[in-house]
C-alpha cells in the first residue's frame, strides 16, 4: 500500500476514559427533551466502560435528527446520505476490521429509504452495531409518518390518517437471520448502557432498536413507559422461536436481548477466502504472466 499508513495493520490499546471524554465540542441540535439525548449519554457510558479508544471508534449515520449522532461523539464519524449508513459502515469495517464501527440513525433512515440494505448487512453478518433510534416518526422533516408509525396517524402528510400497517423491525431482523437482536428505551438508561455494550461486544451484526421519543412531533414517552417491560426471565435468547414470539407481541413491548447466536463474521469469512486463495510472492508481474504471449 502506498499511503504512509496501512489501515489494516493498526493495533490499539485499551483506553481509560470517562464518558464525558467521548463528548465532542459540537452542541447537539436536538430539541430539549428529545429521546436521542438519552441514547447519546448511554452510548458515552457504554464505550467508556468498554475502554474503547476514541480513535478506534467510528460512528456512521445517514440523515435525520438521530443521524446527527456522529457529530456529538468524540470519535471518527461519517455523516453520509439518507439511508446509506449500513453499506458505508460495511466499507469502513471491511477496510479495517480493527476499528469498532457503530451505525446510528432513525426509523425513516433505517426502514424506509434504507430498508434495502439491512437484510444484506445481516446476511453478511458484518461485525458492526446498528442502533436505530425509533421515534416512529420523521423528526427532521417535521413530522411525517414513518414505517413504524401506527395506523391512523394524522399528520400534515396524512391528514386523514395513515392506512399502511407498521413494520415490526425486530421480527424482520430475526426473520433475516440477524445474529444479535435487542430492544431498549431511551428513558431506561441503565438497561440501555448494558444493551449497547452487549450489542457492541457481540461478534457479528447486532441490531438494537431503541425507542427514542420525539417530543416535538410525536411524544410517546408516556405510551412507552406504559407498554414496555423487560423480557420475561424465562426467555432464552438462543431460542429463535421464542424471540419471534415476543417480537410479535404488540400490547406489551419487551425490552432486552431477544436473540443471539454465533456465526462467522464477514471479515472472518473474507479472511478465510484469503487463506484459500493464498499465493506467495504474488503481484502484478505474476498476474501479467498469465496474459503474456
Amino acid at each position: 500500500m502506498i499511503s504512509t499508513i496501512d489501515p489494516r495493520i493498526m493495533t490499539f490499546e485499551q483506553a481509560n476514559l470517562a464518558p464525558n471524554d467521548y463528548k465532542s465540542e459540537v452542541h447537539p441540535i436536538w430539541c430539549p427533551g428529545c429521546g436521542d439525548f438519552g441514547v447519546l449519554s448511554s452510548f458515552y457510558k457504554a464505550v467508556s466502560e468498554m475502554h474503547i479508544p476514541t480513535e478506534r471508534l467510528v460512528v456512521a449515520s445517514g440523515i435525520g435528527c438521530s443521524g446527527r449522532f456522529p457529530a456529538f461523539v468524540h470519535a471518527y464519524g461519517f455523516h453520509g446520505t439518507h439511508g446509506r449508513v449500513l453499506p458505508l459502515a460495511t466499507g469502513i469495517k471491511m477496510a479495517n476490521p480493527e476499528l469498532v464501527v457503530v451505525a446510528a440513525g432513525g426509523d425513516g433512515d433505517a426502514f424506509s429509504i434504507g430498508m434495502g440494505h439491512l437484510p444484506h448487512a445481516i446476511r453478511r453478518n458484518v461485525d458492526i452495531t446498528y442502533i436505530v433510534m425509533d421515534n416512529e416518526i420523521y423528526g427532521l422533516t417535521k413530522g411525517q409518518a414513518s414505517p413504524t408509525s401506527p395506523v391512523g396517524m394524522e399528520r400534515k402528510a396524512s391528514p386523514y390518517g395513515t392506512v399502511e400497517t407498521p413494520l415490526n423491525p425486530l421480527l424482520l431482523a430475526l426473520a433475516r437471520g440477524a445474529t444479535w437482536v435487542g430492544r431498549g428505551f431511551s428513558s431506561k438508561p441503565k438497561e440501555l448502557v448494558e444493551l449497547i455494550k452487549q450489542a457492541m461486544q457481540h461478534k457479528g451484526f447486532s441490531f438494537l432498536q431503541v425507542y427514542s421519543p420525539c417530543v416535538t412531533f410525536y411524544d410517546t414517552y408516556d405510551h412507552f413507559k406504559q407498554v414496555t417491560q423487560p423480557l420475561p426471565a424465562d426467555h432464552n435468547s438462543r431460542d429463535k422461536m421464542s424471540a419471534m414470539k415476543y417480537a410479535m407481541s404488540d400490547e406489551t413491548l419487551y425490552l432486552g436481548v431477544y436473540y443471539q447466536e454465533e456465526r462467522p463474521t464477514f471479515d472472518e469469512g473474507y479472511a478465510a477466502k484469503r487463506a484459500k486463495a493464498h499465493a506467495e510472492n504474488y503481484g502484478v508481474p505474476q498476474i501479467l504472466s498469465r496474459f503474456t504471449r
Partner: protein, 611 residues
C-alpha cells in the same frame, strides 16, 4: 492491404457453434505466431443461443481498429452467409458449413464448402466443429501447426482425453483444407522478424484496467453485476484475496459506492465499476464524496442508453452525467482511456488524481474497448508512479488542533484516517467549518464552494505531465481531429491513410475530460482551420463541451447506433474537411461564430449518423 492485414469473421448461432471460442482460440494462435491481433464480437440478445459473430483482424504490425471489410468469412449457418457475405471484399473468400447452409449466388467471391458436420462425425466428436474450424483456419492462414497445437493445449487442455479429441479435430480441419481447398494457403502472414520472441500481452480492456487498478494500489472494490462491467468485479474477486485486497458484491450500486467511500475514508485506495444505469444510481453519493472530500474511483463502462437501452452495445453517451450529474455544483475529475492498453495507465492516473485531490474521479471506458481482446506491448511497470494521499501528520502540526477541511494554498487539506490519534473528525455531507462541524453561513459556504472547485480546476495542470494528452499525425496540419476515448483506433488508421494521400491531420486525444486541459487544447486548436470531433453519442457531448469552452465551431461527427466507427467513415470526414478548405481558400484564421443564430449551422448530420 490484403495479404498483410487480414480481417476474418466467424458467424453462427451461439448455442450450437462455439463461435466465440473458435474466434478467440484462433486469435491467440495468431498472436502466439508473432502476429498482432485485434478482436471484436457481438453479444446476442438471447442468453444462450442466438446469432453471434466474432471478428479478428490480424497483421504483422499493430492494428488499431476492427477492420471495415472482410477478407474471410467463416459461416456456420445460413444466417451468417446472408448477413455477412456482402461485407466480403472482392478478393476475399467465404468458407461455409456445407452441411448446414447453401452458398450465396455466385458473386465473384471465392466460396469454399466445409462439411463440418460430416467431418465431426468422421472423428466421432459432434461438438468438435469449432476446433475443426480452427484447424481449417490455421491452414488457410498458413500458420504453424505446432503453434496451434500449443495454444489448444494451453486453452483447452484441462482434461486429458478432451485434449486428445481436440487435437484430432484440429488436425482434421487442417488436413481438410490442405487436401481439398487449395494447394497453397490463400493468406500467408509473415510475422515481423523475431516478432514471436517479442513480449506481447493478449487481453481485454477490462483486464488491463483491473491489472492497472492493482498496480495503482487499489485494495478495495465493491460492485454490482452489470454488463459490460462485471468482468472487472470478477477479475478482482479472483485476485484480491491473493494480495490482501477486499472485493464485495454489493446489493446494488448505491451500496457499492457507499462501501467504496467507507473504505476510502478508512484509508484504502478504493474503486467501484458499473455501467450507465448503475452510474445514474451513484450520483447522490458522488456528490457526497465531493462534499466530504473523499477520494474514490468510479469506473463507468459506457453502453448504449438511455435507460436499459442496448446493454451489449457501445456508446460514449455518459460524458455529461459524469461531468454534470449531481445536484448543485459538485466538482469532480473525469478521465477517459483510449484503448485496451491505455486502460492500464489511465486507471493509475485516475487513482493518483483521486488521492491527490481528494475528490471522486469518474473513469469513462466503453463497451467496445472493455470486452475487446487484442495484442498489446507489455506494460511499462516503471511508468507506474503512485501519488500518495496527503495525510495529516501530528508531528508537523505541533500542538495545533486537527482541522480536516482546513483551507490551504492549493485547497488540498491533510486528511487523517480512523485509528490515527487526535485526528478525529466527521466526514460531513452538510456544509461545514474547517473542523467539519456543520455551518450554514454564506461566508463558509462560498469559501468551501471555491475550495472544492479550485482543487479540481488545478488538476488540469497534471494532464500533460501525467501523459494524458496523446498527439499524433502532422501537428502542423490545417485539419485536426480532437477526440476522446476509443474512437482513437479508426482515427489512427484513417489519419494514416489520409496522410498517405497528401491530407495531413493533426490529432489530439485528451484523457482528462474534466477539467479540460485548457492550455494544451487551446494551443492545439488555435492554428487549425477545421477541427473534427468524432464521438459515439447523439448530441455530440464532447464537441459541445469544446464549443462551450473555446467558443468556436467544430465538426461534430456523431455515430449513435451502438457500433464503433469504421475507418472509412473517419476518412470520409477528413476528406470532406479538406474539400471545405479548398474552394474558399480565404480563411487563414480559425473560423469563428456566425453572427446570428440563423447563420449558425445546425449540428452536422455526419455521414455516419444513421449507421
Amino acid at each position: 492491404m490484403p495479404g498483410n492485414d487480414l480481417t476474418v469473421r466467424v458467424g453462427g448461432d451461439s448455442a450450437t457453434g462455439g463461435i466465440v471460442t473458435t474466434g478467440e482460440v484462433f486469435a491467440r494462435i495468431a498472436a502466439y505466431a508473432g502476429l498482432e491481433v485485434y478482436t471484436t464480437r457481438t453479444i446476442p440478445a438471447e442468453i444462450k443461443g442466438g446469432h453471434v459473430m466474432f471478428q479478428a483482424r490480424i497483421a504483422p504490425e499493430m492494428v488499431w481498429s476492427q477492420g471495415d471489410d472482410l477478407d474471410m468469412l467463416i459461416a456456420f449457418d445460413q444466417e451468417s452467409i446472408d448477413r455477412y457475405s456482402p461485407l466480403i471484399r472482392q478478393d476475399g473468400i467465404l468458407i461455409f458449413n456445407s452441411n448446414d447452409s447453401k452458398p450465396p449466388a455466385p458473386n465473384g467471391i471465392k466460396q469454399y464448402p466445409l462439411p463440418l458436420n460430416d467431418l465431426a462425425k468422421s472423428i466421432n466428436f459432434q461438438r468438435g466443429r469449432n476446433i475443426i474450424t480452427i484447424g481449417a483456419m490455421v491452414k488457410l492462414f498458413d500458420l504453424p501447426f505446432e503453434t496451434a497445437t500449443l495454444v489448444v493445449e494451453k486453452q483447452l487442455g484441462r482434461k486429458k482425453e478432451m485434449l486428445e479429441q481436440n487435437l484430432l479435430a484440429l488436425k482434421t480441419g487442417y488436413e481438410y483444407i490442405e487436401q481439398n481447398v487449395t494447394k497453397t494457403a490463400p493468406y500467408h502472414l509473415s510475422p515481423r522478424a523475431g516478432a514471436e520472441h517479442e513480449e506481447r500481452l493478449v487481453l481485454s480492456g477490462n483486464q488491463a484496467l483491473s491489472i492497472g487498478a492493482i498496480a495503482a494500489g487499489c485494495r478495495f472494490y465493491a460492485g454490482y453485476p452489470i454488463t459490460p462491467a462485471s468482468d472487472i468485479m470478477e477479475f478482482l474477486a479472483a485476485e484480491f484475496p491473493k494480495i490482501g485486497g477486499t472485493m464485495i458484491q454489493a446489493e446494488d450500486e448505491i451500496a457499492a459506492i457507499a462501501m467504496t467511500l467507507g473504505a476510502s475514508f478508512t484509508g484504502l485506495r478504493a474503486m467501484t465499476a458499473t455501467s450507465g444505469p448503475g452510474l445514474s444510481l451513484m450520483v447522490e453519493l458522488m456528490g457526497h464524496a465531493t462534499m466530504a472530500e473523499i477520494p474514490v474511483v468510479i469506473v463507468d463502462v459506457q453502453r448504449a442508453g438511455p435507460s436499459t437501452g442496448m446493454p451489449t452495445k457501445v456508446s460514449q453517451g455518459d460524458l455529461r452525467i459524469s461531468v454534470f450529474g449531481a445536484h448543485d455544483d459538485a466538482p469532480r475529475i473525469v478521465v477517459a482511456p483510449v484503448s485496451v492498453e491505455d486502460n492500464f495507465y489511465q486507471i493509475i492516473n485516475a487513482f493518483n488524481l483521486a488521492e491527490k485531490y481528494q475528490t471522486p474521479v469518474i473513469y469513462l471506458s466503453d463497451q467496445d474497448m472493455s470486452v475487446r481482446v487484442q495484442t498489446i506491448p507489455p506494460f511499462d511497470l516503471n511508468r507506474v508512479k503512485l501519488v500518495p494521499r496527503l495525510l495529516w501528520d501530528q508531528k508537523q502540526n505541533g500542538d495545533g488542533k486537527f482541522e480536516r477541511f482546513a483551507d490551504t494554498p492549493n485547497s488540498i487539506s491533510p486528511m487523517s484516517l480512523p485509528g490515527m490519534k487526535d485526528g478525529q473528525y466527521v466526514a460531513e455531507g452538510l456544509e461545514h467549518l474547517p473542523s467539519g462541524e456543520p455551518d450554514y453561513t454564506p461566508e463558509m459556504h462560498s469559501a468551501n464552494m471555491f475550495k472544492r472547485g479550485k482543487k479540481v480546476r488545478e488538476a488540469a495542470a497534471d494532464a500533460e505531465a501525467w501523459g494524458m494528452l496523446e498527439r499524433f499525425g502532422d501537428q502542423n496540419a490545417p485539419v485536426a481531429i480532437l477526440g476522446w476515448g476509443s474512437t482513437i483506433g479508426p482515427v489512427r488508421e484513417a489519419v494514416e491513410r489520409a496522410e498517405a494521400e497528401g491530407m495531413p491531420v493533426a490529432v489530439l486525444y485528451t484523457k482528462m475530460i474534466y477539467p479540460l486541459p485548457r492550455k494544451e487544447i487551446a494551443a492545439f486548436i488555435e492554428p487549425r482551420k477545421e477541427i473534427i470531433v468524432p464521438e459515439m453519442n447523439y448530441t455530440g457531448q464532447f464537441a459541445r463541451m469544446i464549443q462551450a469552452e473555446f467558443w468556436r465551431e467544430v465538426i461534430s461527427v456523431r455515430k449513435y447506433g451502438g457500433v464503433p466507427f469504421a475507418t472509412h467513415e473517419i476518412y470520409a470526414e477528413i476528406k470532406k474537411a479538406y474539400a471545405k478548405l479548398k474552394p474558399a481558400k480565404k480563411a487563414a484564421a480559425p473560423r469563428r461564430v456566425a453572427k446570428s443564430t440563423k447563420k449558425k449551422p445546425a449540428p452536422k448530420k455526419s455521414a455516419a449518423r444513421r449507421k
